[in-house]
C-alpha cells in the first residue's frame, strides 16, 4: 500500500555528510518580507583570497573534518550574484581535494539555494554544465503568483538606506523566477522547492502547493517561519488550508507522484525523555564562513542573520576553530533546552526549531532556550496531518479491499 505514496527525498548520504557553507555575498536582488537575514548589504562580498584561505584551512586540517562526505554549500544573499567567484572556488576545491588525496575527493557535492533569477544566464549555465554530476540546486518559488509576490519582492534602491517602498511600488519577482523553472526541472528532474509560510501567506497555501505541482515540481518542502510573527486565529486558518490541501491531494491521487513535507506519517506523537532526546538542528555539525573569514556554527549565527544578539564566532581562517565555542552545540539535546510543556507535549514529534532563532530570541546569551513561537502552528499542522493520513490510508485500504474482492470474484468464475 505504501509504495503508492511518494515520499520526501532522503538527504544525500543520509544527512551524515559535513556541510560547509560559503557566505559568498550578503547581497540579494530581492527583499523578501519574511527573510531572517536582517543585515543584508552590498559591501560584504567574499574575496578570492579569503575563500582560498578558508579552503586551505579546511582541507589542511583533515583530522578535524572526519565525516565521510562533504556538501560545499553556497549561500547569500543570492549566491549566483557571485558566480565567477563560485566557479573559481569549485575549481580550486576539486583540484586541491585531488592534489591532497583528500578523502572527500570522491564524495562531495556543491549545493545551492537560489532565488532563481539568474539561473538562465550564460555563466550559471556554464557552471552547471561543468559540475552537473556533483550539483544540487534548489530554486525557491513560493507558489502562485499572488503568494510569491506577496513576500518575494525586488529590492529598491532606497532599501539600503532603510526607506521601504509603498505597497503600490512593490514589484514581485514571480515572473522572473517561473520562467526558469522548466529549464531547472529539465536539468534536475527530481528537484524540490522550498516554500516559506508567514502569517500573511496562510490563505494561499493550498493553491500554492497545487500550483507548484502543476509546474512539474514533485517535491514541495514547506515550513512556517520560526520567528514570533503569528497572530490570533492563524492556527485555525492554517489547519483549514492544510485540510483542504489534504483533500485535494488525496481526491486527485496526487500523492502517487508528488510530496509535500507538511504531511509526514510519524509526526505528532509524544516523545520519550531518554530515547528521543536528540537535538533537532545540525548547528555546530556544520561550518559556515563569511567574507571576513570568520567561522560560524551555521550561517544563522553570522551577524547579518541576527536581530538582537552578537554573532557567535567560533574561529577564523587564520587561527582555526576554537573548539570551546562549539561545545555548547555538540552537547545540545531536546530536553535540556525545552520547557516542561514541550518535554511533555503529546504531539511533540516533528516540532522543529532553529538553533539560530533560539539564540536570537533567548533571554540570555545561550543556545539552550528553545523558542516556542511556532507551537500553535505545529499543533494545527498535526491535526491536519492526522486527517491526511487517516483519510489516505482508509482510501487505500478500501481500494485494496476492492482489488482483492475483484481478484477473488475472478477466481470463482474461473472455477
Amino acid at each position: 500500500m505504501k509504495e503508492m505514496i511518494k515520499e520526501n527525498t532522503i538527504l544525500w548520504k543520509d544527512g551524515t555528510s559535513k556541510s560547509i557553507t560559503f557566505i559568498v555575498t550578503k547581497d540579494c536582488q530581492l527583499a523578501c518580507k519574511y527573510c531572517y537575514l536582517v543585515g543584508k548589504n552590498t559591501q560584504e562580498r567574499m574575496s578570492w583570497e579569503e575563500a582560498k584561505e578558508a579552503i586551505d584551512y579546511i582541507l589542511g586540517h583533515e583530522e578535524e573534518f572526519q565525516e565521510e562526505s562533504v556538501i560545499w554549500d553556497f549561500i547569500g544573499g543570492e549566491p549566483f550574484l557571485e558566480i565567477d567567484l563560485i566557479d573559481k572556488i569549485c575549481d580550486y576545491l576539486k583540484t586541491e581535494m585531488y592534489r591532497r588525496n583528500h578523502h572527500w575527493f570522491n564524495s562531495y557535492r556543491f549545493s545551492f539555494s537560489t532565488n532563481g533569477i539568474n539561473y538562465h544566464t550564460e555563466k550559471v549555465q556554464r557552471f552547471i554544465e561543468k559540475n552537473h554530476n556533483h550539483l544540487s540546486i534548489g530554486i525557491t518559488i513560493d507558489g502562485t503568483q499572488r503568494k510569491h509576490d506577496l513576500n518575494r519582492i525586488w529590492k529598491t534602491p532606497g532599501m539600503e538606506e532603510g526607506i521601504q517602498p509603498k505597497p503600490e511600488e512593490e514589484q514581485g519577482s514571480y515572473k522572473d523566477v517561473v520562467r526558469n523553472i522548466p529549464l531547472w526541472l529539465e536539468q534536475f528532474p527530481g528537484a524540490g522547492t522550498k516554500v516559506t509560510i508567514s502569517s500573511a501567506d496562510i490563505p494561499y497555501i493550498k493553491e500554492s502547493v497545487l500550483h507548484l505541482y502543476s509546474l512539474g515540481i514533485k517535491e514541495v518542502n514547506i515550513n512556517c517561519v520560526f520567528e514570533a510573527v503569528w497572530h490570533e486565529g492563524d492556527d485555525r486558518l492554517f489547519e483549514q488550508q492544510l485540510t483542504e490541501l489534504a483533500d485535494a491531494i488525496i481526491d486527485g491521487r496526487l500523492y502517487e507522484e508528488y510530496a509535500c513535507s507538511f504531511f509526514q506519517e510519524h509526526i505528532g506523537k509524544p516523545m520519550d525523555h531518554e530515547h528521543d532526546n536528540q537535538n533537532w538542528c545540525g548547528a555546530g555539525m556544520m561550518l559556515a564562513v563569511d567574507a571576513a573569514g570568520m567561522f560560524y556554527p551555521c550561517t544563522r549565527f553570522a551577524q547579518y542573520s541576527l536581530r538582537s544578539k552578537p554573532a557567535w564566532i567560533i574561529g577564523n581562517v587564520h587561527d582555526g576553530i576554537d573548539k570551546n565555542k562549539l561545545r555548547p552545540f555538540l552537547t545540545l539535546d531536546r530536553c535540556t533546552q525545552s520547557i516542561e510543556e514541550c518535554i511533555n507535549c503529546e504531539v511533540a514529534s516533528g516540532c522543529a526549531w532553529c538553533q539560530g532563532e533560539n539564540y536570537d530570541a533567548a533571554d540570555t546569551h545561550t543556545v539552550y532556550q528553545r523558542a516556542t513561537a511556532i507551537c500553535k502552528m505545529h499543533k494545527a499542522r498535526v491535526r491536519a496531518n492526522n486527517y491526511y493520513w487517516n483519510k489516505l490510508f482508509r482510501k487505500l485500504e478500501l481500494q485494496d479491499y476492492e482489488e482483492q474482492k475483484r481478484k477473488s470474484n475472478h477466481k470463482t468464475c474461473d472455477l
Binding site: N277, Q278, W312, K323, N324, K325, R327, P328, L330, T331, L332, D333, T336, A362, D363, T364, H365, T366, V367, Y368, Q369
Partner: protein, 321 residues
C-alpha cells in the same frame, strides 16, 4: 534555591575567585575605590533578611568607616577579608605571598589566587601554609590559558602538594586543601552555585550572578535592589541543565559559569581547560587517598574514587547521550 548573598563592600573588594577586579574601569569621584553607599548596604541586608539569605561581606584593603561596621554587625554574616584587614576574618584572602608567614593565618581558612607558575615558584610557601592553616583554597587564575601540553606539569605540581599533605597528616593535623581533599569528602557536585544558590550585590545597588560578572561588565546585571532580583534563564545555571557536568564526578570542580560564559559563550557548558584541570585534580585526589591508605592515615568520611580513562568528559559525551 538561593541561600547566600555576597555583598561587595567596595568596588575594590578583594578577589577571592577566578576573576581579577578591574577597579580602573570604574571611574570614581573619589579617584579611588567606590565604597558601597550606606543606604545600599542597609537595603541589601534587609533584602537578605526577607529572603532568608546568609550574607558574605567582601572587604577592600582599606578600613571601613565606623558607621559601616555598626551596620554590618547588625546581622549574622561571614567576613571575607584581605590580609590587610585580617582581624575577625572568617575567610582570609592572601593577596601577597609575603603575607603567608604572618600569625593570623594560624588555623584560619585561607584563599590564595594564583597562576600555576606562581604556585610552582612559591611551592615552599604553600607547603609552609599547609602546616598552619585549617583549610587552604587555591584558586587558579590562568585556567583559560591551560594547554594540553601542560597536563604533566600540573600533575607534578599536585603530586608535590599531595606529598606535602601526607607529611602534615602524619603530624595529626588533618588540614584541608580544596584541590585535593574536597573530592575525598564529596559524594555529589559542590559547585559555586552562582545565580542558583548565590547572588552578589555590588556597590551600585545591582545584583550580579557573581562578582566576576560585575567586574567584567557592570551592565550584565541580574536586577537591582530597586527593581528586584531578575535572573534570566536561571534553570541553565543549575546542574541538571548542564549536559556535561551533570554526568561528571569531578565533584570538587567549581564549574565556574563566568569562565563558561567567557570561554564557551554558554553559561552551562564548561571549557576543555576547566574540565581537564578538574579531572587532573580528581585523579590526584584518588592518588592521595591511596597514599593515605598505604601510610595508615585516616580522614573521616572519605569515599572511594573510581578509576577513569579520560580527562575531559566531553570526549565521553556520546556515551552519556
Amino acid at each position: 534555591m538561593l541561600q547566600y548573598l555576597i555583598i561587595l563592600l567596595d568596588n575594590r573588594s578583594v578577589s577571592y575567585c577566578h576573576y581579577r577586579p578591574h577597579p580602573l574601569s570604574f571611574p570614581s569621584p573619589m579617584g579611588e575605590g567606590v565604597l558601597i553607599p550606606l543606604e545600599v548596604l542597609k537595603a541589601g541586608i534587609v533584602f537578605a533578611m526577607k529572603e532568608n539569605l546568609n550574607i558574605q561581606f567582601v572587604y577592600p584593603e582599606e578600613a571601613l568607616p565606623v558607621e559601616y561596621t555598626e551596620v554590618i554587625e547588625s546581622i549574622d554574616h561571614t567576613k571575607i577579608k584581605p590580609m590587610a584587614q585580617a582581624e575577625e576574618a572568617d575567610v582570609l584572602v592572601l593577596t601577597e605571598w609575603q603575607t603567608t608567614d604572618v600569625e593570623s593565618v594560624q588555623n584560619a581558612t585561607c584563599i590564595i589566587s594564583a597562576s600555576r607558575q606562581e604556585l610552582k615558584a612559591n611551592i615552599e610557601r604553600v607547603k609552609s601554609l599547609l602546616n598552619k592553616v585549617a583549610r587552604l583554597n587555591i584558586v587558579l587564575t590562568d585556567i583559560e590559558a591551560f594547554r594540553d601540553e601542560e597536563i604533566g606539569g600540573y600533575q607534578t605540581l599536585l603530586e608535590t602538594l599531595s606529598d606535602a599533605l601526607i607529611e602534615v597528616f602524619k603530624t595529626g593535623r588533618m588540614v584541608q586543601l580544596n584541590l585535593l581533599t574536597d573530592r575525598l569528602l564529596l559524594t555529589q557536585m559542590n559547585n559555586c552555585g552562582a545565580g542558583d544558590t548565590t547572588v552578589t550585590l555590588a556597590p551600585n545597588g545591582k545584583f550580579y550572578l557573581c562578582p566576576a560578572f560585575y567586574y567584567d561588565d557592570p551592565s550584565q546585571n541580574a536586577g537591582s535592589l530597586a527593581d528586584g532580583l531578575n535572573i534570566k534563564n536561571r534553570q541553565l545555571l543549575r546542574l541538571n541543565h548542564a549536559p556535561i557536568c551533570r554526568h561528571c564526578d569531578a565533584y570538587q570542580c567549581k564549574r565556574c559559569i563566568w569562565l563558561n560564559s567567557y570561554l564557551t559563550l554558554d553559561a552551562n557548558t564548561p571549557s576543555h581547560q576547566q574540565c581537564v584541570i578538574a579531572h587532573i585534580e580528581r585523579n590526584a585526589s584518588r592518588d592521595l587517598l591511596a597514599k593515605m591508605e598505604a601510610k595508615g592515615l585516616h580522614m573521616s568520611n572519605t569515599h572511594e574514587i573510581p578509576e577513569i580513562n579520560y580527562l575531559d568528559p566531553f570526549n565521553n559525551y556520546q556515551q552519556w547521550k
